[in-house]
Symmetry: C2
Subunit: 120 residues, 2 copies
């Protein structure tokens, strides 16, 4: 069973965290054929944490978890913090296939999204 875990920074503003949760709902609807679970987790300031998010996917039966960094640039969070947290979870789930996908900012389709927004 494959799971997709969208990892956002997390915010003190509930509304920003809820935005990530709504986006995750949309992604679940879109990715249902490829991932049996689509969840979100937060680096800080909101729940669930990344380890809790991974644990939850495993508890639901995931044998593979893809971590998807919802970040626009490869700062310290993407380059260091998330890989370290994921490495720690990997030790706790030795049988789990755990992979970090490239961060959102690298998506080639992002220019299309920008053009879409410029018209609104």
């Amino acid at each position: 069973m494959r799971a997709l875990l969208v990892v956002a920074h997390g915010s003190r503003r509930d509304e920003s965290n809820d935005e990530v949760r709504r986006l995750t709902d949309k992604l679940r609807a879109l990715a249902g054929n490829e991932y049996q679970q689509v969840e979100c987790a937060f680096l800080e300031l909101a729940q669930p944490s990344i380890p809790d998010g991974i644990d939850c996917c495993v508890a639901e039966g995931a044998s593979e978890v893809v971590i998807l960094p919802y970040f626009l640039s490869a700062g310290r969070h993407v380059a260091k913090d998330i890989p370290e947290i994921v490495a720690s979870s990997r030790e706790q789930h030795p049988g789990l296939a755990l992979r970090i996908a490239p961060y959102l900012g690298q998506a080639s389709s992002l220019v299309g999204s920008l053009l879409e927004m410029s018209k609104k």
Copy 2:
């Protein structure tokens, strides 16, 4: 003449700012039919600033500038800082059509970009 100004937060890491500049280059190639100028500017930590970016578009002949916030959530920067800076530029260019587009995080196509990255 229409100009599109991508506004990013700006980073201490040159690489992150260069990423925004490269994205702007791609957007220029994609949006050439709709915008005669496509540039980027930064809220802080990098150059050009937002007012300088707007001034530059005007100096190049723009009669309309669309500000495109390259942000994933509507925090203080999107809700307050950018509108205040743009309002100030508006006063300095009374004949200019100056509009702030919705921020990138609101693009409906973003879920497709996330799914794209999950496969890489």
